[in-house]
Symmetry: C2
Subunit: 409 residues, 2 copies
Amino acid sequence: MKEISGGVCAPKGFRAGGIWSGIKTGSRKRDLALIYSEKSCAAAAVFTTNRVKAACVLVSREHISGGKLRAVIANSGNANACTGEAGMAAARRMAELAADEFAISPKEVAVASTGVIGVPLPVAAIESGVSSLAASLRSDGAGHEAALEAIMTTDTRKKGGAVEVVLDGVPVRIGAMVKGSGMIHPSMATMLGFITTDAAISPAMLDAALRRAVRRSFNRVTVDGDTSTNDTVIIMANGEAGNSPLAGGGPLFETFVLALEDLCVSLARAMARDGEGATKLVTVTVGGAESEDAAETLAKSAASSSLVKAACFGADANWGRILCAMGYAGVPFDPEKTSIGFASAAGEISVFKDGAPVPFSEDLAKKILSEDEIEIRINAGSNKPGGSAVVWGCDLTYDYVKINGDYRS
Amino acid sequence: MKEISGGVCAPKGFRAGGIWSGIKTGSRKRDLALIYSEKSCAAAAVFTTNRVKAACVLVSREHISGGKLRAVIANSGNANACTGEAGMAAARRMAELAADEFAISPKEVAVASTGVIGVPLPVAAIESGVSSLAASLRSDGAGHEAALEAIMTTDTRKKGGAVEVVLDGVPVRIGAMVKGSGMIHPSMATMLGFITTDAAISPAMLDAALRRAVRRSFNRVTVDGDTSTNDTVIIMANGEAGNSPLAGGGPLFETFVLALEDLCVSLARAMARDGEGATKLVTVTVGGAESEDAAETLAKSAASSSLVKAACFGADANWGRILCAMGYAGVPFDPEKTSIGFASAAGEISVFKDGAPVPFSEDLAKKILSEDEIEIRINAGSNKPGGSAVVWGCDLTYDYVKINGDYRS
């Protein structure tokens, strides 16, 4: 497997673009994105678990239910959430507008929105912009970049990538873009992710592959504990690579899943790194838990704790807060057998071993925790196999408060 | 029922005091508190639900198991948590030192600690200070104040009070002090609460009264979502008021519980108001939920959301974040029937009604939310009786990050 350029346009047969249509009123930043496949695609998606679901989520869920898609149209600047019947009509209209450009069925178009909640989606902006958007689509990296910019809100970095993997001699490509920096939590809050691949794969296997990859990537990112109304990750596979179709499990399918997971993990890390106001990527690794799920729960509890996050901001080796966060995670583990350490490019240090504090150099700890990528290493003391997980988060900073203290204005 | 002065010394037969013993090394602020009853007391307590429990919690739980106490000794500046066998020995020694001063059994003494986790408790400081502490005890408000100061950490305000209620012609008093400002969550994290009463009441009924009062007060406070290793609320009742003993349910018991709950609620509000870095008390009231528990869960989810808290700091009427936080709370409710409003001394405003946004004056909303006590009013749309709850939280501010970015140094 190798990294390649081009993002969602790296796989054969996909075009993408993004324009400013006027949904974002404060600036002329791009706000409307389109990804289009020349051929019909197998498609799969995962959506928010929030009981309050945005109109775009409801419409996309319906459109993707048959496992087929041709295009995704997405906007930033407005979430089209909590907008009632008018919001549903707007989401349907958005799909219809994109479909009309290519003379395809609206059912072949997924829609996604991100931005402020509760404000009517200005459909007129989309109506007036969609034709120039469709005309602007490109099959190279510039198309990917334009689309990616158009789904960004408080994101400070572009988060996209592509990989190529060889399946039985046939090169297959996977490309992706994501947005998300605030309101991100394990259950994928306010993140949008669009993934393209030229693999030939059945909708059912594509769905299985996506769920496995998302479980160990986007669902293990936590920024602030909030789970949004709009989360959506969509994958489309058009079969243009010409591999023998992945219609069941087996080694080739596993290779495909690993490549997809790898790409998603790199974007999940990038999302945590770009958490609102974050100055540091905080990776929490837990081993020695009772199960992978227990490890994930313990890691998320530590990574989500405001006190742990503030300590990371202050480069404070405050393992007591980590142990405390594990203690209220709600899964069993033995504090008496637990060990905690920190690591970064500046070195590694053990601060708590087998249930007891270890004398350590505060200077070294400070140095390690002052890096912009730091790791909290936890061993929960069990011998059970498979009890490990990795979760990505970030520190809690003044800027997080600033960004979210007045988001709407 | 009326408010009275004197705090934990208001009920007859209690003395209290606090000194600086040297546990806090950065300053000469009081760090060791003692509350003592001349007569044996019925006693009850609630402790942290964290799987990681401080040594003082384990020792106090053991001592209180018989339902009797004479004294509480508590220190700030060191949590005596995650300190292993040495920590257990230190907690036992602390009880013993207090017991020796009054020639009572160590089993009649509860211990409590708050402060930094994982550092050995400096028992020598307590050994050298306990005699002058015992000698300093007073039965008036000054004793209460000194003890209260000695249990404070990052608290910026003293939180104590007392009430008097007449039971069948006999005045009965209840006094209390609490500390807690950070690491506070619904399950009562890093809070210490000591309550005295001269009521005559059986240990079993005292336990029942305490649990009812705590449920609707301290367990409905949330500051940062963390649940500490040390939470402890202890009540001691010495019977000195001379009322006919409350040994079963009935109207007099109910009157007593309401007075206790009222006192606890006022201190719970004070804790939320004094949340680390908080500039505002945020009260979340939920009505129209499926049950009281469901209402509490919805209210806590809104009050705990970092995004909602940051919006309160910014005086931003961002109801979308509130609805979103309700959506991931994990209890059923109907967003289509939900209404949300804000209120404060500056007025009240409806922003979301029966599932749809209501046009509202941003200026008025800003004015309402700029007060230092604000209320978020939610109606979850159900007709079920009893589906309401009140939760107290605070805003998320720059200072929260500052305080917790470098607590240990």
